[in-house]
Amino acid sequence: MKRRKFLQQTITGVLLPSFMGGISLKALAGSPLVHSLQQRMNDDRVLVLIQLAGGNDGLNTVVPVDQYSAYLAARTNIALPEEKLLKLNGYDATALHPAMPEMQQLFNEGKLGIVQAVSYPKPNFSHFRATDIWMTAADSDKIINTGWAGRFLNDVYKGFPEDYPNTSMPDPLAIQVGSVVSSALQGPAFTMGLAISNPSSFYNLIEGKVNVDSNTRWGAQLDYIELVSRKTDQYAGVIKAAAMKVTQQSAKYPAAGKNPLADQLKIVGRLIGGGLTTKVYMVNTGSFDTHAKQTETDTSTGTHAKLLQRVSEAIGAFMDDLQLLQVQNKVMGMTFSEFGRRIKSNASGGTDHGAAAPVFYFGHSIQPGIIGTNPVIPASATVNDNLPMQTDFRSVYSSVLNNWFGLDAAAVQQVLGEQYATLPIL
């Protein structure tokens, strides 16, 4: 039996989910009962990372209502109509894009929080480089070859992959729904993640289907190799077994193919619900690279609205699913994007690559609210103006590692290289 670092931590009250069975656990914090409960909960805690690929326009996602006139001035062609913005309880100065009613509801129910203006010093404006920085948690001017979540998993699960799967960790450490395992999951020598290449391959696995034209000579050969491949994959069995345990999922998920992010999260929900003990899931959706025509004439509609609608719908359905599957307390999720976009919109009705942007975090046991303040929009923003950073993205990671997974400060520092302030997200 391997000792896991996050089992060894001492626990403080603030980390606990607010309520369980009607009893405030905060009230019990420090008691031996809660201590052991916390250990158990820590052990089966799951993190779901949602990558918004392309650089999400944060300013049209979380709108600083208190500066609406400056906002309107900077974005005459794409500013969202004030009356359509979705209000957040207790935070009159801030509102969400009209396409995000599910996330508004989650916020108002205390299951979703926002970290304002997340970035890092000397932000990079290249998609690929900025993505790499977020994945590796590197400084802007440093190249790191491992991913932040990969280093975390490598520290906790010593001897991976040689000694795995084993009885204490029979499941994949991390699962990527996507063609390639994200560099965030790259460990020092091996990737710590397993890719489920796309939703249809997942359902083919579950249903035992092969997906080629088997009525041909080459197709028959492929079928065979596919079968051996599944049999060979040491994790195919546990994934299938977990999936088979779940027979019903939330009705809030849209029909398959309508919302790719929802399709991915539905798989994640099914695997968590089926008891897979995988620690980290990574999903992604895009493309948020809205250089041109990000809205229609009605600025609350159009490309960006559609993208956010999918995110909101998917997260809403996923959260509902977690509750239905009775695993809501062991899951937290967060969104991230490689950068935000420029304050001032461009003449094509879009926005160019920018810097800081909000991060959403969600879960049934998070501490809700808004961390940080509305970004300040200059009275007359120029094309070069960017939103300044309020929170280093590594502070978010640090909080997740420390407060969600229970790593102590030294262990967190080992993963992130430096110490970053933790945030009250849990």
């Binding site: 990558q51 690929a53 392309g54 290249s126 998609h127 690929f128 480089r129 993505t131 790499d132 190249i143 070859n145 996507g178 063609s179 390639v180 560099s183 796309n198 035992g208 088997s214 009525n215 041909t216 000579r217 080459w218 028959a220 050969q221 492929l222 079928d223 065979y224 190799i225 596919e226 079968l227 051996v228 491949s229 049999k231 060979t232 069995g237 992604n284 959706t285 895009g286 493309s287 690279d289 250089h291 041109a292 490689e338």
Partner: protein
């Protein structure tokens, strides 16, 4: 365990040529589709209603483009490197086939002493000199030289000319299978290989005669011990069962025929066993001079016993008798067909392909080239139904990868590292169950003959991960010997393509080069967006890849960009090589 995937009925039955009894089980999965398994780790998918491919041996007159060249090269060479596809696409099918068949290596290099180490120094053969002239054989140098031999052979495959020769050498090695472990004499192993090269594209009848007198074969199948006092039937049996007549539907020779053939073959033995000029001789004193009677299958042929030196002539009588059987030509053509086209020979294929091809073989007095020429020029060979229908053998897989990705090896003057790295490739193929020089037995590798799975045997729960590990490894650290390393340079490979800065073109051309069959556009789009564009979608985002690609030239010192582009290319090629499609030829 098999039962975890399937459930069904068990059957027991004789499969294939009567040599083995296998227990197998079939499962009806869906209408018309059956799965059969042999051993827990081996599954075979039998599609009982796979459509018959009825195209014939008439000259192919269809499209001659990159896909056709690629198909021809993947089958007749080890992999189809872009440069070779370019070369032949500008030529006609006719001239391509001519080049592939007529080009034979001038004189291959000779295997050298690469093997001095802290435990052994060859006192006779200097480092870097060939050991085929060696006169001293010992327990210390035998294994080392045999390893050198195998490395050398892999080197010939890796550096093959634009010719079917190397594939044919492997074909004949599998056909006239011998094992270096049993022969246990590196000079004999080397000479056996030279013999296969000499006759690979020549006359089959002459080849069988030469193999009969080949020292390695005399040792391996005990011809050396076959004397009138104690006839050894081993070679006499395999000569008929595996080398000439086979066990196909038209083969009816008898056990008595095996005994008679063995007696004809008495007297051949190895001369100068450990010297460089080791060869087979006819030793009249050991020859059975009595008459040899054969069965009705051979038209009751009587091979009259001949005296003294004349006894050797009985071999020619025997060959004449064997080669009078039409079944012989069909047997060889079936084997060629399975090696180069597709494993399953149904009635239609037997009638449309095997019979006329065998006729060509006989009509040309068992010259091999006309047969290959007819097969490779045929409508049937280029039939879409047969493309991608073979599973790559381990040697094809490993050597083909090195050739298609243009993996650079050290020069011949750095023979220690060169042979070491060749050995890494040879060993990788061996791990995947194809150890050249040492097939499992005299029947060769089961993938070339074992009903009903054939080439599916190459893929099981042990070998498939090894294939994936090999491709992953070649993309990452590769193999290293001292200061030398072989690995795939994904950037160089991408650079060799037409338009690598266009992410669609990069994916499409990579797929076209590496796969025998195309992928659906949706899959390609998925790879482009998921891998090259970090999740960005739509045509509008393509320029991000283009910019990053171009920056490799304009800003070569931008390490962040270099890492990004290299990682994306690695991910792309890893993904491509991990898909089942990469296993097909």
């Amino acid at each position: 365990m098999a039962g975890q995937i399937f459930a069904g009925d068990f059957h027991m039955g004789h499969l294939d040529n009567g040599r083995r009894v296998n227990i197998y089980f079939t499962y009806k999965l869906e209408a018309g589709r059956y799965f059969a398994g042999i051993e827990p780790d081996q599954y075979s998918v039998q599609y009982m209603e796979l459509p018959t491919v009825s195209s014939n041996l008439k000259k192919y007159k269809g499209k001659w483009g990159r896909d056709e060249v690629k198909h021809l090269l993947k089958r007749t060479m080890f992999g189809a490197p872009k440069a070779d596809i370019d070369f032949f696409t500008s030529r006609s099918l006719r001239s391509t086939i001519k080049l592939l068949i007529e080009t034979t290596d001038a004189v291959p290099s000779l295997p050298v002493n690469n093997y001095n180490d802290d435990k052994y120094t060859d006192e006779e053969i200097l480092p870097g000199d060939t050991w085929i002239t060696a006169t001293k054989l010992s327990g210390m140098n035998s294994g080392r030289r045999r390893n050198s031999f195998k490395s050398w052979w892999i080197g010939l495959m890796l550096n093959q000319q634009r010719s079917v020769l190397e594939k044919m050498v492997l074909f004949w090695h599998n056909h006239f299978a011998t094992e270096t472990n049993t022969v246990d004499n590196p000079t004999m192993c080397y000479k056996h290989n030279v013999l296969l090269r000499q006759y690979a594209m020549g006359n089959f009848k002459e080849m069988v005669r030469a193999v009969t007198l080949d020292p390695a074969m005399l040792k391996y199948l005990n011809g050396n011990a076959n004397t009138k006092k104690a006839p050894d039937e081993n070679y006499g049996r395999e000569l008929q069962e595996l080398f000439t007549i086979g066990k196909g539907p038209g083969s009816h020779y008898t056990e008595a025929d095996v005994k008679s053939a063995a007696r004809v073959l008495t007297g051949f033995r190895i001369e100068n066993k450990i010297l460089p000029d080791v060869h087979g001789v006819f030793d009249a004193g050991r020859h059975d001079e009595t008459d040899k009677q054969f069965s009705s299958f051979y038209n009751n042929t009587l091979i009259g016993g001949r005296k003294a030196k004349e006894g050797e002539g009985e071999l020619d009588d025997l060959l004449a008798m064997l080669f009078a059987q039409e079944e012989l030509s069909k047997f060889i053509c079936r084997k060629l067909y399975r090696f180069f086209v597709y494993y399953q020979i149904d009635d239609t294929t037997e009638k449309n392909i095997i019979e006329p091809l065998a006729k060509t073989f006989r009509k040309n007095n068992y010259e091999i080239k006309p047969v290959l020429k007819q097969l490779f020029s045929s409508r049937h060979f280029f039939d879409m139904a047969n493309r991608g229908a073979l599973i790559k053998s381990p040697v094809d897989f490993t050597v083909g990868l090195c050739r298609e990705f243009n993996v650079k090896f050290p020069g011949t003057n750095d023979y220690v590292n060169l042979y070491g790295l060749w050995n890494n490739i040879q060993n990788a193929a061996a791990q995947m169950q194809q150890n050249i020089g040492d097939p499992p037995n005299v029947a060769g590798w089961p993938a070339y003959y074992q009903e009903p799975q054939f080439d599916k045997i190459w893929i099981n729960s042990d070998t498939l991960p090894k294939r994936n590990q090999f491709t992953d490894r070649m993309l990452n650290n590769g193999f290293a010997r001292n200061d030398k390393k072989i690995s795939i340079d994904p950037y160089l490979f991408a650079q060799s393509l037409q338009n690598p800065g266009d992410p669609d073109a990069l994916v499409s051309e990579s797929v076209q080069l590496l796969y025998a069959i195309d992928l659906p556009d949706q899959e390609k789009k998925y790879m482009k967006e998921g891998i090259l564009l970090s999740g960005l979608q739509g045509m509008m985002s393509d320029h991000y890849w283009t910019d990053a690609w171009n920056k490799m030239t304009t800003r070569p010192d931008d390490n962040a960009n270099k890492k990004d582009v290299t990682n994306k290319l690695k991910n792309l090629y890893r993904y491509l090589m991990n898909l089942p499609q990469y296993q097909l030829s």
